[in-house]
């Protein structure tokens, strides 16, 4: 149909609102409560426009177009109405723009300038509202609130957990949480962007810069494998805040809190600001040349007994060069799977593990089975898609995990399963809920990263793949790190070269296989205390090896104790490079700030080392190589089908598993205090009911030869049997031992 806006003809669709048509044609209509991704409430009355024939001006956000409708966004009717609303909004809004963080990007300020009057007739006393404490991430200045309710609707509709609400009534209406409870949603920071005024503020940014001084640099999330698009806002070489960069394929208009507040750790006091070498049992400052000389010498000396483990948070460029340096030096034992302990699957693994379908296709799925994953906590952006699927198409979602996770979407059936039960679950489907899944439907299985931590991962993944195949299901393999897909593609595994080319002679090996004979350990951006499947084991190896090389951004006790050389690694925001996200997209990120101290982009460090080793390559060549590798790659399905396999024995031992906490999943996040104290402050250990342990008990976990005393809130559970679940957040955790082992309790 056609409608007329300011006497110009525009095409409009049935059921469209005036504002949608206007927005599409860049016709400006002021608004506060309207947001394209939230429900329409038409309550701010800022978008009132003249509709010819109507007695009063109509809200453009909620008025559906009619064929031939004549709308005027200019002219006295519209302008008077908008001026009226503006005057009402300002009577109780403080005139504190000079001290307000929102100033300069404030919708109220902008619209007031364009549509308001220069003076107000209001002479009474303005309303003041006492601020609320809603956590360490979002701070409030509620006197500034204009009650647009975007934040409330966001909680209900997008984040899926209503935490902010509207209380009181009339002029006394307030936005608050129930008795100052902290926001728990992993998407909570989005209310800062949604707030059109300075009522909900970013605590990390508060009073630290003025918006007009900020420089905006685009980047990619380094915190999960979805690869959310980001803008960093910097001032004087410091990241002041992070905001979403709209991407319709990934993060829409949103950001997970880990991405938004995840830059806090960069300025940690533990940053390594210069190269170090060990001298007389102490790390002393040195220079890269000295380090390169020592490392190249040790690489030549211990070629056959070297183990190199690299974080999958590294860029593709770092990964490609890292494996090239090592392989060209004759060192085959390279891996990124530091948290895994069962590698039997590796020859059958896809070249690039991926999500298998586009995120936008999720909503069309009829059945989704979640395996060992807490989507809302671990992949908040993904939860938006799943929630939408349930809301729009009543998608049936089943959760099979070691713990009864809270999700922000409806789960139709959930089961708590131990790793052994999980393995069996998919081979005995006639006895369980899976018998209801019809293979003619659109089915999707999503495997969480913590599945890879399990001792029987090979069997689980094989059984799930066979089942997936039998029901024509897509299989999504979510990566543990932002570039897990990249690590597989770039050959940071012992058995495959870049592009997934098999190396025949190294079948069935992994980084653990050289134990105990590793004389040289190279650890790249991984912290022994937190990033390995078994921390005591890796620390033992560090003790027993002859030379330990660390590439790290932060100092930890074990690095300080056992490193022989430490390369000062710049963090992701100080580097440039690319990641392959779970949808197999190669996304480039820019350097946002310059590296702290003498720290350096990993690629630059590695180029220096390669030069020393006589490997002739530069970054241009690396990019070329990567593009060629990716273009040649033959990507098949995600099924991991293994020919012969033995089922795991059903032993009645007590098993300990770690619940993955995504907010401490990499070294920088581990140092984001605000994030951890707001979202991950619920350390607990959950023990089977049958153990008869009360909440006062002090628990010691005996794990192989070690015993750990653990202090945490004790919970009890009925299921899964014979399993102890430990949730401890990396940074603040005490030693927690292995991710998945057999233990005794005392």
């Amino acid at each position: 149909m056609d409608i007329y806006i300011n006497n110009n003809k525009y095409q409009a669709l049935d059921d469209e609102t005036i504002i949608q048509v206007a927005d599409r044609h860049d016709i400006h209509i002021p608004r506060f409560c309207y947001h394209k991704r939230l429900s329409i409430v038409a309550s701010c009355r800022m978008c009132l426009v003249e509709v010819e024939g109507a007695k009063y001006p109509q809200p453009a956000c909620s008025t559906i177009v009619r064929d031939g409708m004549k709308v005027n966004t200019v002219g006295s009717v519209t302008e008077d109405a908008q001026k009226s609303t503006m005057e009402f909004l300002l009577i109780n809004h403080p005139l504190d723009c000079p001290v307000c963080d929102q100033a300069g990007e404030c919708e109220l300020q902008d619209i007031s300038l364009d549509h308001g009057d220069y003076k107000s007739n209001y002479k009474e006393i303005k309303r003041t509202v006492i601020d609320k404490d809603i956590g360490n991430l979002v701070t409030t200045e509620m006197t500034r609130c204009i009650h647009c309710s975007r934040c409330v609707r966001f909680g209900e509709e997008v984040a899926g957990i209503k935490e902010l609400g509207m209380t009181g009534r009339g002029e006394e209406t307030k936005i608050e949480t129930f008795v100052n409870q902290s926001l728990t949603s992993e998407l909570s920071g989005n209310v800062i962007d949604l707030c059109p005024v300075g009522a909900l503020n970013n605590n990390l940014y508060k009073y630290s810069a003025r918006t007009w001084d900020l420089k905006q640099i685009s980047s990619i999330s380094s915190n999960d494998c979805l690869g959310s698009n980001i803008y960093y806002h910097t001032y004087k070489n410091e990241i002041k805040r992070t905001v979403p960069k709209e991407n319709e394929q990934i993060n829409l208009s949103w950001l997970a809190d880990s991405d938004r507040f995840g830059h806090e750790g960069i300025e940690s006091e533990e940053r390594i600001l210069s190269p170090f070498v060990r001298s007389e049992n102490k790390l002393i400052q040195s220079d890269l040349e000295t380090l390169n000389q020592a490392v190249s010498q040790k690489m030549q000396e211990y070629t056959s007994s070297t183990t190199a483990v690299m974080s999958a948070q590294s860029s593709c460029e770092e990964m490609y060069l890292f494996q090239k340096i090592l392989r060209e030096s004759g060192i085959p034992n390279i891996d990124h799977r530091s948290k895994e302990c069962d590698f039997g699957y590796q020859d059958y693994y896809p070249i690039i593990p991926s999500f298998d379908i586009k995120l936008s296709e999720i909503e069309f799925m009829e059945n989704i089975i979640l395996v060992n994953v807490n989507i809302s906590k671990e992949f908040p952006i993904l939860s938006v898609y799943l929630r939408n699927a349930v809301k729009q198409n009543s998608t049936n979602i089943i959760s099979l995990s070691a713990y009864e996770y809270l999700e922000n979407f409806d789960i139709s059936h959930s089961e708590t399963l131990s790793p052994k039960e999980l393995e069996k679950y998919f081979t005995t489907t006639s006895n369980n809920i899976l018998s209801n899944i019809n293979k003619d439907k659109k089915n999707l299985i999503i495997m969480g990263p913590s599945t890879t931590y399990l001792k029987n991962y090979t069997n689980i993944t094989n059984n799930i793949s066979r089942y997936a195949k039998s029901i024509n299901s897509k299989l999504s393999l979510l990566g543990d790190q932002c570039n897990t897909s990249g690590a597989w593609a770039m050959g940071v595994v012992p058995h495959r070269l870049p592009g997934g080319i098999e190396i025949a002679e190294f079948k069935n090996t992994a980084y653990l296989s050289s134990y105990p004979k590793n004389d040289l350990l190279i650890i790249y951006n991984l912290e022994p205390e937190y990033d390995f499947s078994n921390d005591t084991e890796i620390i033992d190896r560090l003790k027993n090896s002859k030379f330990n090389v660390f590439f790290s951004s932060y100092m930890t006790d074990s690095i300080n104790k056992y490193a022989d050389v430490v390369y000062p690694l710049a963090v992701q925001q100080e580097s440039h490079g690319s990641y392959i996200n779970t949808n197999k997209q190669l996304q480039v990120f820019n350097q946002v700030i310059s590296p702290r101290g003498q720290s350096k982009n990993g690629l630059e460090i590695l180029l220096g080392l390669s030069k020393r080793l006589g490997i002739n390559i530069d970054d241009e060549q690396i990019s070329k190589d990567i593009n060629e590798i990716l273009s040649k790659m033959n990507i098949k399905s995600n099924y991991i089908l293994i020919d012969t396999i033995e089922m795991t024995n059903e032993k009645n031992t007590l098993e300990k598993i770690i619940i993955r906490s995504s907010n401490s999943n990499n070294p920088t996040l581990r140092r984001c205090k605000s994030l951890l104290t707001t979202h991950d402050n619920d350390d607990f250990m959950s023990i089977p009911n049958s153990m008869k342990i009360n909440s006062e008990s002090k628990i010691t976990i005996n794990e192989s030869e070690n015993s750990f005393k653990i202090k945490a809130n004790i919970k009890v559970h009925d299921k899964p049997d014979n399993t102890i679940l430990v949730k401890m957040n990396g940074r603040y955790a005490q030693k927690i031992g292995s991710y998945n082992t057999s233990v005794d309790l005392s």
Partner: protein, 166 residues
């Protein structure tokens, strides 16, 4: 997994269940208002955080959902109040028939201002904003939700005496 902790007696739980049954199965929020009324009645006329949390848990809904409602409707009290609630209608029809005189008489008699409770906690004089829909009996008041109409100061004294002596 939701928190199901609540502090309701068996009787109260039954009453809430009964209210719950008035609405479709998946619409437990609908039970908030009437439940809050009986919970408040059972708790000396006011609600607190614990009761709000309990109801949210009992109905498996968010606490803020209950709190939003508790702060919206004027019959909910979030602070302790006197035992007997007096609401004098002061809206236009009553105002024309001297309801303001009735209010000041009660204020004087009970030695409190409108919106306050007496020291002995016997009476709470609510600042009633609404018209209580007894305009043809103006001036009127409700004491514990019972209407007393065509008031005079003498009549008010008599009513309050009777309640005070109860």
């Amino acid at each position: 997994m939701t928190d199901s902790k609540h502090i309701f007696s068996e009787n109260m739980s039954k009453e809430i269940d009964l209210i719950r049954s008035k609405f479709p199965k998946d619409k437990s929020k609908s039970a908030i208002i009437e439940s809050l009324l009986i919970i408040q009645h059972d708790n000396n006329g006011f609600l607190n955080d614990e009761l709000i949390t309990s109801l949210a848990n009992y109905l498996s809904i968010q606490k803020i959902d209950v709190y939003e409602v508790a702060t919206f409707y004027s019959m909910f009290n979030l602070k302790p109040i006197g035992k007997n609630i007096i609401s004098v209608c002061t809206n236009i029809s009553c105002m024309l028939r001297n309801s303001d005189g009735i209010v000041s008489h009660i204020e004087k008699r009970l030695k409190i201002k409108i919106g306050e409770s007496t020291k002995d906690n016997k009476f709470y004089l609510k600042d009633e904003m609404e018209c209580l829909a007894a305009c043809n009996g103006a001036p009127m008041m409700q004491v514990n939700h019972i209407n007393y109409e065509n008031l005079t100061t003498e009549k008010v004294d008599k009513i309050l005496d009777e309640i005070a002596n109860d």
